[in-house]
């Protein structure tokens, strides 16, 4: 029998490719959860819904309005202007939403347990480490431990892209025939990707390294 698993699907490139990879391997009964936390780039949620439909998996979008109301980040609608530039630049730290990933993981864990699921997938990747404390391998290791203890049944956390870079994820997505036009990466929250924020810069580099045309540009 397939193991029941839940993935945090943002609608971005990483979690979308991860969802396609899990489904392609055929060993899990997968469902997805996304979070509407007041991100400027809410457009990613439409992509998450579209990808879940393509994959034929159950999809839940949970609103977390308190994050936009009370937390401080340039990534949020309530926050300041989004910095432009490369991810390695220090000003990109303004796009950290305090403890966002732990909040998403803990809620996803509660949902997974309620649905009788025993595994949780999370798409953090190697390119995130320098800016986002809650994407670091040490954080992920500690989360694995705490998620194994949070219920009487063990919940297993998988973070398969933790040491991969974005170019490797694009290559896998291409191999899996992921519709990249239905993934959203830009943080700026406009109709079209800005091409200048750290997230856009990283995505463009990843496509360029694969000698691929990004359908969004």
């Amino acid at each position: 029998m397939k193991k029941k698993a839940l993935i945090i699907l943002s609608g971005g490139l990483d979690s979308t490719v991860l969802a396609h990879d899990i489904v392609a391997r055929g060993k899990k009964e997968l469902a997805a959860v996304s979070f509407d936390y007041g991100q400027k780039h809410r457009r990613e949620l439409e992509c998450a819904a579209a990808q879940a439909k393509i994959l034929g998996i159950e999809h839940t979008i949970l609103p977390l309005p308190f994050i936009n109301d009370l937390f401080d980040s340039a990534l949020l609608q309530s926050g300041g202007t989004l910095p432009e530039g490369h991810y390695e630049d220090d000003n990109m730290k303004q796009t950290v939403v305090p403890n966002r990933n732990m909040i998403m993981l803990s809620i996803a864990a509660g949902l997974a347990i309620s649905q009788g699921r025993t595994e949780l997938f999370y798409g953090a990747h190697g390119g995130d480490h320098a800016i986002y404390p809650d994407c670091r391998p040490a954080f992920v290791e500690a989360m694995k431990e705490v998620l194994a203890l949070c219920d009487w049944q063990k919940l297993k956390l998988h973070v398969p892209f933790l040491h991969d870079n974005k170019a490797q994820i694009v290559a896998l997505g291409q191999h899996l025939k992921v519709d990249f036009a239905r993934t959203w990466t830009c943080y700026a929250g406009k109709e079209r990707p800005c091409g200048k924020c750290g997230s856009c810069v990283e995505r463009r580099e990843a496509f360029a390294l694969n000698k691929l045309q990004d359908p969004l540009f």
Copy 2:
């Protein structure tokens, strides 16, 4: 300068006594956060607000409606009948809300970081261990580690009652002159405490061991 701290204040006995203890010691600039997650015993939130007012501390109540909508627990308005009996009885496990404490801790952590607070207080106590996986010392130790890693600044988790029993907490509350009439323990969600649920049974025992009259009974 006082360190800035945040406490998860349910309005129950344990977190209320803990809040009074922290304020009495005078070493922290304390604020409180409570969660409205669809618990049958929403009445506890009125107690939390009253205690925060008595203590003169900032208090935020965050709604988490998705827990009642999607999670499975007899503690929730959406859940089945609440079991009666002693906490050590196995049927009390129906009152576990999957991963509730980790969800509350992770959101409180995000709020604390947004408010420039570096310490987080959580009132789990020794009597919770047998029923609630997310009150066990091993869980708390793992949470301490993950909360120290979730941001670029370390966030310190304090769980001072982790090895105390409820009778010791009542004794401390009495010493601190806590108004026990403004704490709420019963899970049943009625006008008056039911006296029969595990939570009521434990509270009554704790007052009896201190030879005190509980103002709620």
